[in-house]
């Protein structure tokens, strides 16, 4: 397996928030932090792998080159990936491919975003052949899909709105001391229950905001790491970015309908992402010590427990109630505070998950440290069949 591993030499972030500045500024801060953390001179970076943002004009579409120029052109190879919420993971996968194929030894992987206020909305124009445009025309926003998933959990498994609130309270506790989190405030069950209903059964505090932010990684071959005295660096053991398999079992954003399961069995996309990651790393869910999952909503975090095989389908709320997934429990989930404390900065978010795992596995996560963490997994999902799961190990 180790032949397919790469080292994480450095990680860095720009704090999440609603800063209203150009995304390149955030990216520069994150890149310089990651370079300093790695102890690598920028001019030594051989490949810049950027995650695109689609809301910041042309510089965002060519994010890899934008950051390379901002740091000072130095002749590195460059690439930009776009895969909705999994953009960061795809940029990471591109870097891994270059490293494992011998095309480069050390790479900068970077994503940053500046987000508008309120609901994420499609680009302008009349596009009735674009399902994303049509669903917005019908008034079906992202939180509506989260509401559908949450309600289905209540109907099938007996989850309650209190269970969803418990996720928020847990993640707010976790993120309270995280200097990179946007929301550093503890909340009570009553606070969540008092927040406005957005997409029944989900309230404002059940749904993640959109944020500005940036995250960057310096990754290298294991040989390069050893030559630079970093043979003990944490490693990436798996990057899964598989597509769904026809037919879809769950109604996914931005679709108006699932596939028909008349001729093919229905498959659950979210479950496929970590399954491939476990297979690639040669480990199972029982080997995981810490997880960063995409809590676009509180209820969605519970779906992930099951898709990551931490428990049987329908048992996630039980795991939560038993305290298993909070700091101090057997398998803390979203020790960073998750999207509940960060809000989503799309191209940076999947990389931020990996940054958190790197800090956890190095044992430098401070007040939110998961004791003895040696193996961590991320899980994330975006629109149009994109998602990712990354395994980091010591």
């Amino acid at each position: 397996m180790s032949a397919r591993e790469i080292a994480i030499l450095g990680v860095g972030m720009h704090p999440w928030g609603k800063w209203g500045r150009n995304f390149v500024e955030y990216g520069l801060v994150a890149a310089r932090a990651a370079l300093a953390d790695a102890g690598i001179d920028w001019r030594k970076i051989q490949f810049v792998s950027g995650a695109a943002t689609i809301r910041c004009g042309y510089p965002g579409y060519v994010a890899g080159a934008t950051f390379a120029q901002a740091l000072g052109w130095q002749g590195a190879q460059v690439n930009t990936s776009y895969a909705a919420c999994a953009s960061g993971s795809q940029a990471l996968a591109a870097a891994r491919s270059k490293i494992l194929s011998g095309e480069c030894e050390v790479a900068l992987v970077i994503g940053a975003d500046t987000t508008p206020k309120g609901f994420l909305a499609p680009q302008k124009g009349e596009r009735p052949d674009d399902p994303d445009w049509v669903r917005f025309r019908l008034g079906i926003t992202n939180p509506a899909y989260f509401g559908l998933y949450a309600r289905r959990r209540m109907g099938l498994y007996g989850d309650t709105q209190e269970d969803f609130a418990r996720v928020k309270v847990k993640n707010a506790d976790h993120g309270f001391s995280n200097p990179n989190a946007r929301y550093r405030k503890r909340f009570s069950m009553e606070d969540v229950a008092a927040s406005a209903m957005v997409a029944n059964p989900l309230r404002l505090m059940d749904i993640c905001a959109t944020s500005d932010g940036a995250a960057a990684l310096i990754v290298s071959s294991l040989d390069f790491a050893r030559r630079h005295g970093r043979g003990d660096a944490v490693r990436i053991a798996a990057i899964s970015t598989v597509t769904p398999t026809f037919a879809s079992e769950v109604l996914e954003m931005p679709d108006l309908a699932t596939d028909s399961a008349v001729a093919a069995a229905a498959h659950r996309f979210r479950a496929a992402l970590p399954r491939k990651a476990y297979e690639e790393a040669g480990i199972g869910p029982e080997d995981v010590h810490v997880a960063e999952v995409y809590d676009l909503s509180t209820a969605l975090e519970l779906d992930w427990y099951e898709d990551l095989q931490f428990c049987a389908r329908g048992d996630a709320a039980g795991l939560l109630r038993a305290g298993v997934t909070r700091l101090g429990g057997r398998l803390p989930v979203n020790a960073s505070g998750g999207l509940a404390c960060f809000g989503e900065a799309v191209p940076a978010q999947a990389l931020a998950q990996v940054c958190e795992l790197a800090w956890q596995l190095r044992g430098t996560a401070g007040a939110r440290q998961v004791e003895g963490a040696k193996v961590g997994i991320t899980a994330n999902q975006g629109l149009f069949g994109h998602g990712s799961s990354v395994i980091v190990k010591k």
Binding site: G147, R151, G155, M197, V198, N200, L256, A257, S260, V262
Partner: protein, 142 residues
């Protein structure tokens, strides 16, 4: 509905007759259904047929899940002034083995919905101007 001209907000996606139905398509080889309709290229990777036929989808199904829009969605949604919250349903069509999303008819809120109940397809205005009403499919509890 007065004297306004009624048109489809999404022409070709559904019929506007007394018993409206969604217009989907079906692969003539593997029988997989699609909504919205496709004119070519079945997406079943084990099939690969390029011949799909337009079909009317079932008008009723079971409620797979539901939610609502408490806040005014952004454009291209065209909101009435003042905005009126509406419920949203995902309905499982048994024959087609698929789940189809849509608004719930006006006047029905989430308190009147429960998983598994039978829902029926109707058409109702999505938005209107002085002269025309643009209709869309919606789900109504039976």
């Amino acid at each position: 509905m007065g004297t306004k001209t009624q048109i489809a907000a999404l022409p070709g996606w559904y019929s506007l007759d007394g018993e409206p139905h969604l217009i989907g398509s079906r692969c003539i080889a593997c029988r997989s259904y699609y909504f919205p309709k496709r004119t070519t290229a079945c997406r079943n990777p084990a099939c690969g047929s390029d011949t799909l036929e337009a079909v009317s989808l079932s008008r009723t199904g079971k409620l797979w899940s539901f939610t609502d829009a408490c806040y005014q969605p952004p454009e291209p949604f065209l909101a009435p002034d003042p905005f009126v919250p509406f419920a949203i349903a995902a309905v499982e069509l048994e024959h087609e083995r698929m789940v189809v999303l849509g608004q719930v008819v006006s006047g029905v809120d989430v308190g009147q919905l429960r998983l598994g109940m039978t829902m029926e397809l109707v058409v109702e205005p999505l938005f209107a101007d002085e002269a025309t009403e643009s209709l869309v499919w919606k789900w109504r509890p039976v």
